[in-house]
């Protein structure tokens, strides 16, 4: 009797969980293991702005109760980092010195907040928003009705900004090339969207007009806790500074695996990498687009979930191509507010 197939999913976000669920339903006899560096089970990161409304209990954010994983026989391994992959031997090497064999590997490790190289050294002066812990730390550092400076202003940041305005904070967006990321906004349309930000209550500072961001420093005694300095010598002050420059695929562990990588894992429309046993889904992969004649990323909760499902389908015998499921255009509502379809989730 053959041993059951072992499907390993790296990542426990939207794509990873959808993949695990699909693998379980399509291959009931298999072993399904999901590995994540997070200490938390799958939680709704789109809901993280609620932390600023005072919701501090992470249990209120999780999608599935603990029993879900037990009932579905999904072995969830948290606080576990994959350090490398031997694709020939189908083995994962874990940071705590354990090896794990897989029959199929589905990489859904997502992405981490991107930080422009020139600002990396100022990271200690900024508050991230990439995890539950980051959100708590930022909320703790923000006084009531305080002033938040959003650097960049991607759609994740602007989503948070909406909440911050709603709870009475002052919010300044330092706009630059990553503003509205991942939406591609043409130069012609950009002023309209920036005006919309102002209309929504954001204060807008144009980094380009000030010679770009030069540094983020601690505030002087008696002033706000943080200063953002520009190359023209000007500066703005706020209580916390949060970077929102988009995200970069989290795939360090795949380097040296033999799988082709550009910025993300390169996959065919069926989400298979250059190794037959390895698939990818979500923010970590670039999918070949016949229309664009290039590998490209697809973002948004709906897209990512669909990718997780498709990858699992194809891992278990199907061979279907990726079809985007989500509108990717930034919108302006009738009352002049911006709206990103990536803010929609269910």
């Amino acid at each position: 009797m053959n041993a059951p197939r072992h499907h390993v999913v790296v990542g426990s976000g939207v794509a990873g969980n959808q993949a695990a669920e699909t693998l379980r339903s399509r291959d009931p006899e298999s072993r399904v293991t999901m590995i994540t560096v997070s200490k938390l089970p799958f939680f709704n990161r789109y809901d993280l702005p609620r932390v600023f409304r005072g919701e501090r209990d992470w249990r209120k954010f999780i999608i599935y109760p603990a029993e879900y994983y037990l009932d579905n026989r999904i072995s969830l391994r948290r606080a576990t980092q994959v350090v490398s992959v031997d694709s020939a031997r189908r083995t994962l090497f874990l940071a705590h010195n354990e090896t794990l064999h897989f029959d199929t590997l589905l990489v859904a490790s997502g992405a981490s907040p991107y930080m422009p190289a020139e600002l990396v050294e100022y990271r200690p002066q900024m508050h991230g928003f990439g995890s539950f812990r980051d959100a708590i730390a930022a909320a703790d550092a923000l006084p009531k009705d305080g002033h938040v400076i959003l650097l960049g202003g991607d759609t994740i940041g602007l989503d948070l900004g909406r909440t911050l305005l709603d709870i009475g904070c002052r919010v300044t967006v330092v706009i630059e090339k990553h503003t509205f990321w991942p939406h591609e906004v043409s130069a012609d349309e950009r002023p309209r969207y920036i005006q919309a930000l102002t209309d929504m209550g954001f204060e807008v500072v144009d980094a380009a007009a000030r010679g770009q961001i030069a540094a983020v420093r601690a505030g002087e005694p008696g002033l706000a806790a943080r200063r953002v300095l520009f190359r023209d010598g000007s500066e703005i002050h706020g209580d916390i500074v949060m970077p929102f420059f988009g995200v970069a695929p989290a795939l360090d562990f795949m380097l040296g695996s033999g799988v082709d990588i550009e910025r993300g894992l390169l996959v065919q429309p069926n989400l298979r990498t250059t190794n037959d046993a390895i698939y990818a889904a979500g923010d970590v992969c670039q999918i070949w687009s016949d229309a664009d004649k290039r590998y490209r990323f697809y973002y948004g909760w709906k897209n990512v979930r669909a990718m997780g499902e498709l990858a699992a389908h194809n891992v278990t015998g199907a061979d279907e191509p990726w079809v985007p499921t989500q509108d990717e255009g930034l919108q302006l509502t009738a009352d002049g507010r911006i709206h990103s379809p990536f803010w929609e989730y269910a």
Binding site: K39, P65, A66, A79, H96, N97, E98, T99, I136
Partner: protein
């Protein structure tokens, strides 16, 4: 005022400092003002084999037992930690080594087994120990520091205990402190995701933390013990170890004899001279002592025997707990050999029973067995000890001058069955003492009526022990009047029984519990009244035969429901509650 009720389990291999870590943790938390109940499980092997688990329950309110689920598990070792992950409740914390130095096979790391509801905390235990102290030996202290830092417990109580523990080895204390600090800093920097909260105690209590055996030793000292004779045996040995430190300071004598037979013989000899004398052993030792105990009973010599039960028969499971020596304690030996047997139900009771045992032995001129078990012997609790020893220094029946003289009757028949006792060397007190049946003078007499008379004397005099001053032979807790279910328990099991009673009451079950401390002579009337006030009675105990249930049924002729466990582990509260729930239909039937 928020309450703290946290159970922590530390798990590792023998030799990894698991029990030492538990000791420091409970001492530090007791020093910080928390109430503690703690119990260590360890293997029979000395080092390098087997699993050690130190468990402690930290509270701000009085509790009576350990919980079945822990809130925090600290794994010093993957192999031994993995089987215990299931004991951590949902949203509880699992602290473990972040990185193994040896390659691990699939599933051999703790992280592979942490359940989705539990919170994982990988800590760099080995690495921090090596950085702080140059070696891995202080991993236990790193883990303790991590735990304290994670939960925001101040460092000072730990420093105090580390310094006290290693006061003669300043260098070792410093190394341990460094390791603790290294772990503390990492723990403090770790984002806490579990819901474990240490609320500060309302006020710092004057309680001291003792385990059952230490409390026995303290009781012996406060009762004025003169001589102790013993032979080491798990789990009684630490009574002798404690006394070996304390008795010489008070000018008293302790002798390690060549075996248990010598120990009981010398104890009886010392008791005969008027000394307050005791020995301590476990079931196998009691078996060896049984013949000499008969001599003590026949010669009406006061002495105290502490018996800490362990899993048997034979060598059995010597480092696991059991309550299976009740029969030998009450009935062991040949002939009609009545003796007093008392069994404390908690650490405070160990202190009180130890002291009272000397009073009773003197007052009723008989050996007294204090029946402990491994769980209570090794269980730590914070207890309030009285400022002044509450034990009478001399309980001998007064000896009148006219009693002495050529016709002195050492075994005089009296109304209460107790004869005025002359000690060796006392003028006019010369008498014969023998293991043979004897008359009032002590001279051999095998006549039928004499044997009947003296047998009656030896049995009947003990009944007064049921009314011994300041001693509760048994005590009822919980709902008054008629109840649906009564839990009748003895020894260490009573703590779990009491918690089970409170839990059952919360479920709306009318419930009461009775602890029986005096097992011989048996408090028949009070126990009968308790049973009659219950629609059903449950007797949980840690032996296969239901020895206490048998005792109750034989003495009272009442039916009880048995719940007998022999797992080597203490009784589980929830298991008792489940038995109580099951009794509700039969209780209703009986009530109807």
């Amino acid at each position: 005022m928020s309450k703290t009720d946290i159970q922590i389990a530390i798990c590792g291999s023998a030799g990894e400092g698991t029990i030492a870590a538990g000791d420091i943790l409970r001492s530090a938390l007791a020093g910080a003002g928390y109430r503690i109940i703690a119990f260590d499980a360890y293997p029979a092997e000395i080092r390098g084999f087997g699993k050690c688990v130190a468990r402690l329950r930290v509270t701000t309110e009085q509790v009576y037992s350990l919980k079945e689920k822990s809130d925090v598990l600290v794994c010093l070792n993957d192999e031994h930690g993995i089987p215990h992950i299931g004991e951590v409740r949902d949203y509880g914390a699992v602290i473990y080594e972040a990185k193994s130095i040896v390659p691990l096979a699939e599933g051999a790391h703790v992280s592979a087994h942490i359940r989705p509801g539990q919170v994982p905390y990988p800590a760099h235990i080995r690495e921090l120990s090596e950085r702080a102290t140059g070696g891995p030996r202080s991993r236990n202290m790193v883990a303790l520091g991590y735990l304290a830092g994670l939960f925001g417990i101040t460092r000072e109580p730990f420093y105090k205990i580390i310094e006290a523990k290693f006061k003669k080895k300043a260098g070792v204390a410093e190394q341990n402190r460094k390791a603790f600090d290294a772990g503390y800093d990492e723990g403090k920097a770790t984002f806490q995701l579990d819901d474990v909260t240490f609320a500060p105690p309302e006020h710092k209590s004057e309680a001291v933390m003792l385990n059952g055996n230490a409390a026995v030793a303290r009781g012996c000292m406060d009762a004025g013990i003169d001589n102790f004779f013993g032979y080491p045996i798990t789990p009684a040995t630490t009574i002798m170890e404690k006394l070996a430190v304390e008795m010489p300071k008070a000018g008293k004598r302790l002798v390690q004899t060549e075996d248990e037979i010598a120990a009981i013989a010398t104890t009886i000899g010392a008791g005969y001279t008027g000394a307050r004398a005791a020995t301590a052993t476990s079931g196998p030792g009691l078996a060896l002592m049984s013949e000499m105990l008969g001599l003590g009973i026949m010669a009406e010599v006061p002495c105290v025997v502490f018996v800490s039960q362990r899993g048997g028969p034979a060598t059995g499971i010597p480092t696991k707990t059991e309550q299976s020596d009740l029969n030998i304690a009450i009935y062991g030996g040949h002939g009609d050999a009545p003796r007093i047997v008392i069994a404390p139900t908690n650490v405070d009771g160990c202190y009180r029973c130890a002291g009272k045992a000397f009073e009773m032995a003197e007052r009723y001129q008989t050996p007294v067995i204090v029946l402990l078990d491994l769980y209570i012997s090794n269980r730590y609790e914070t207890v309030m000890l009285p400022g002044k020893p509450p034990f009478a220094p001399n309980c001998d029946k007064p000896l009148a001058e006219q009693d002495l003289g050529p016709g002195y009757r050492r075994f005089a028949l009296t109304d209460d069955g107790v004869s005025p006792r002359a000690l060796p060397g006392m003028a006019g007190g010369m008498h014969v003492v023998t293991g043979l049946e004897h008359n009032e003078l002590g001279r051999v007499n095998e006549q039928a009526d004499m044997h009947e008379t003296m047998s009656k004397k030896r049995h009947e005099k003990l009944k007064a022990a049921l009314n011994h001053p300041d001693f509760w032979p048994c005590r009822r807790f919980g709902d008054e009047g008629q109840v649906q279910v009564g839990i009748l328990a003895w020894g260490s099991t009573f703590g779990e029984a009491l918690e089970a009673m409170y839990r059952a009451q919360k479920e709306g079950i009318r419930c009461a519990a009775m602890k029986v401390v005096m097992l011989s002579p048996f408090p028949t009337e009070a126990v009968a009244a308790f049973i009659d006030s219950c629609d059903a009675v449950l007797v949980p105990e840690l032996n296969y035969q239901g020895q206490f249930a048998n005792l109750v049924q034989s003495r009272l002729g009442r039916q009880v429901h048995r719940y007998d466990r022999v797992t080597g582990a203490p009784m589980v509260v929830e298991d008792i509650v489940e038995q109580v729930r099951r009794l509700i239909p039969s209780a209703s039937q009986r009530a109807a």
